[in-house]
């Protein structure tokens, strides 16, 4: 292995030996094809002609008026399949195809990554198998059906938390037994090296577009860029465009669940009692755990943020002080979900609603000409049944 994917002290390659040769192969293939003209041409074409990129940067007129500053939304909800996950799924599925793999496996929480992988599999002629916790299958039913419609096999995960964490465990176990012919298409900026680096690379298109778009519209950089953080791929994707612009505040919003004091949340950075450095799923990062190192299960109203660890690059950005991290509770996210729907006619994913919730708080402290960019990482169609249940509405 050429490099161990370290972000400061974070990251690394903590996996059983069986997977190491496959990770070496992955590192070599990614390094090769990201510079390959044919690969890049094909990926560009997929992103523009198939996935609908670039996505719009929408001025949220009504919200801006209401809160007294300029709020822009980076519309990843408009990308094909309805979330930023497609950027990475197409990139990696294409890589898998170039590597000669026929079968792709993936974990999913909210089902957005699973759907994106099923989509990429259908388009590129790869057999897709998705692992999904039974709790998530229940709360994200529309996405489960979408995956199946596109020919993917959905494997319910009944172990442990029955959510994203254990779906990743099952993928790693599957891969350990199938590593020679199977490509593991990991969906976030986590896992062992090369994944955090590679997923960030495929998602950096969000930030690249957003920076160009805001410069064109405003002629200046925003005061802040705000994104929700589960594993953290949409956040890294948009942050990448502004990392060198030191004046731009980068803010990640974790899932505060029922509140930090309740202990029922997925805020790895906000609760120092249980959010500590540790190793989960191949990398060293901040992990919710007990004093012996056993991993805690998490709680969030949104399946996509319901995860015990956070991408290692976020841990580094936080330690460097380059990004700051806060949280929004379930209730704040549900309120933002309704507010954005009513004010702008955009139904956000519950995950993205966390970013909107904090953006509203942040906007209240802003001046009239301050510009905020919120990454609207996905659309909320998948969440309507779950939200209806949460707020006691009938469909």
């Amino acid at each position: 292995m050429k490099n161990l994917g370290k972000f400061g002290e974070f990251g690394g390659v903590f996996v059983p030996e069986t997977l190491m040769p496959a990770l070496e192969e992955l590192e070599a293939a990614f390094e090769k094809y990201k510079k390959d003209e044919k690969f890049n041409k094909e990926l560009d074409s997929l992103l523009t002609e198939y996935a609908g990129r670039p996505t719009a940067l929408t001025f949220a007129e009504n919200l801006s008026r209401k809160f007294g500053c300029k709020i822009y939304l980076k519309r990843e909800d408009l990308a094909h399949t309805g979330a930023h996950k497609i950027n990475n799924a197409l990139g990696q599925a294409l890589l898998a195809k170039y590597m000669g793999k026929k079968r792709i496996i993936a974990e999913t929480g909210a089902g957005q990554h699973g759907t994106a992988v099923a989509t990429a599999g259908a388009r590129l002629g790869l057999d897709a198998e998705i692992y999904m916790g039974t709790i998530d299958i229940e709360r994200q039913k529309p996405n489960v059906f979408r995956m199946k419609l596109q020919g993917a096999k959905v494997n319910p995960v009944v172990t442990g938390s029955k959510t994203l964490k254990d779906a990743i465990n099952e993928c790693l176990r599957d891969w350990t037994g199938s590593v020679r012919e199977t490509y593991y298409l990991l969906g976030s900026v986590l896992g062992p090296h090369e994944y955090p680096t590679m997923v960030a690379y495929f998602q950096s298109v969000i930030g690249k577009e957003a920076r160009e778009q805001i410069m064109k519209k405003e002629g200046s950089l925003p005061k802040a860029v705000i994104a929700c953080v589960g594993g953290g791929s949409n956040a890294i994707g948009i942050f990448k465009g502004f990392l060198d612009d030191k004046g731009v505040e980068l803010i990640g919003v974790e899932a505060g669940g029922l509140g930090i004091e309740s202990g029922k949340h997925a805020a790895r950075f906000a609760d120092p009692k249980i959010g500590k450095k540790g190793v989960l799923h191949g990398n060293l990062t901040y992990v919710l755990q007990d004093k012996f190192g056993q991993i805690y299960n998490t709680h969030s109203v949104s399946a996509g943020l319901d995860y015990s660890a956070v991408g290692p690059e976020h841990s580094m950005l936080r330690e460097l002080g380059r990004a700051k991290y806060t949280y929004a509770t379930d209730k704040e996210a549900l309120d933002a979900f309704k507010l954005l729907s009513e004010e702008e006619g955009i139904i956000p994913a519950l995950e993205s609603a966390h970013a909107v919730a904090y953006a509203i708080k942040y906007a209240k402290e802003c001046k009239k000409d301050d510009v905020i960019v919120v990454n609207l990482s996905g659309r909320g169609d998948k969440d309507i049944f779950h939200v209806a249940k949460e707020i006691g509405a009938e469909i």
Binding site: F14, R173, H281
Partner: protein
């Protein structure tokens, strides 16, 4: 000479091979686990002991279930070390190895974990999810406290990786008999024998073969192929799982099974 060297030298002198049973400490509870260990020691040449972890990615369903039972009964690494101290008192010669996930070591403080292990009478530590690339801090602590750092050798290994791993390995080589996670299988892995033959000329360390070994016939085959020891884990855990309501039966079945497996090494 460390305990692994001593034990394997004795066996070799007598023309014998070894049996190394594995069990998750604290499964199904501390007291029963202690009794199971005592039964195991009647037939074991060495012990491989698992620390239950919430997210055991290298383990199949049987050992996952054992981890859950052990954690539900309130086991933690400190209690595991107590349990090891207990059995160390009974037998001061048997080599004892740990199979543990990295985060349990890290959360304890790496040096601190190795010190506790040494104090409890542990001889070897295998971190299931720490490949050689990440093993630097572990090797440092292992050296400091006189513990053997054990590494996995798997069917996917490249000649370069094998060389690098063997340069740092001590105690024994844990040869993974199949492509996949732990779990009893009906047939021995298709690549097991060829992997043993590939590794045998490369090292003087004992080769212990685990993953998927459940029948006396598997033990015979790996020993005949040039391995020094068979490791059996999930098959033992299955007996525990099957007899959760009947401790006497559990203990006698574990004993009978291991006796049969030990005979296959002779």
């Amino acid at each position: 000479m460390n305990r692994y060297e001593k034990r394997f030298a004795e066996l070799k002198k007598n023309g014998k091979k070894a049996l190394m049973p594995f069990v998750v400490l604290g499964d199904p509870d501390y007291e029963t686990s202690s009794e199971i260990l005592k039964e195991m020691m009647k037939h074991a040449d060495a012990l491989e002991l698992g620390f239950a972890f919430s997210d055991p990615i290298a383990d199949g369903k049987t050992i996952q279930a054992a981890d859950v039972r052990a954690l539900d009964s309130g086991i933690n690494p400190d209690k595991c070390f107590e349990l090891i101290k207990e059995i160390r008192k009974i037998d001061n010669d048997i080599p004892i190895g740990l199979l543990v996930y990295y985060n349990l070591i890290y959360a304890n403080g790496i040096d601190n974990f190795y010190k506790k292990a040494k104090d409890a009478g542990v001889d070897g530590i295998l971190a299931a999810d720490a490949p050689i690339e990440e093993a630097g801090p572990l090797l440092k602590s292992a050296k400091k406290f006189g513990i053997n750092q054990i590494f996995l050798v798997t069917p996917t290994i490249t000649p370069e990786r094998l060389k690098t791993i063997l340069a740092s390995a001590s105690g024994f080589v844990y040869l993974v008999a199949l492509l996949g996670v732990t779990g009893a299988r009906k047939e021995l892995g298709a690549e097991t024998v060829s992997l043993i033959k590939k590794v045998r000329p490369e090292t003087k360390l004992p080769i212990c073969v685990g993953f998927g070994i459940s029948e006396p016939e598997h033990v015979k085959k790996v020993c005949d192929a040039g391995a020094d020891c068979a490791i059996v884990g999930s098959a033992v855990e299955k007996i525990i799982e099957k007899n959760l309501g009947n401790k006497e039966k559990m203990l006698s079945e574990v004993s009978d099974y291991l006796s049969k497996m030990k005979n296959a090494t002779e």
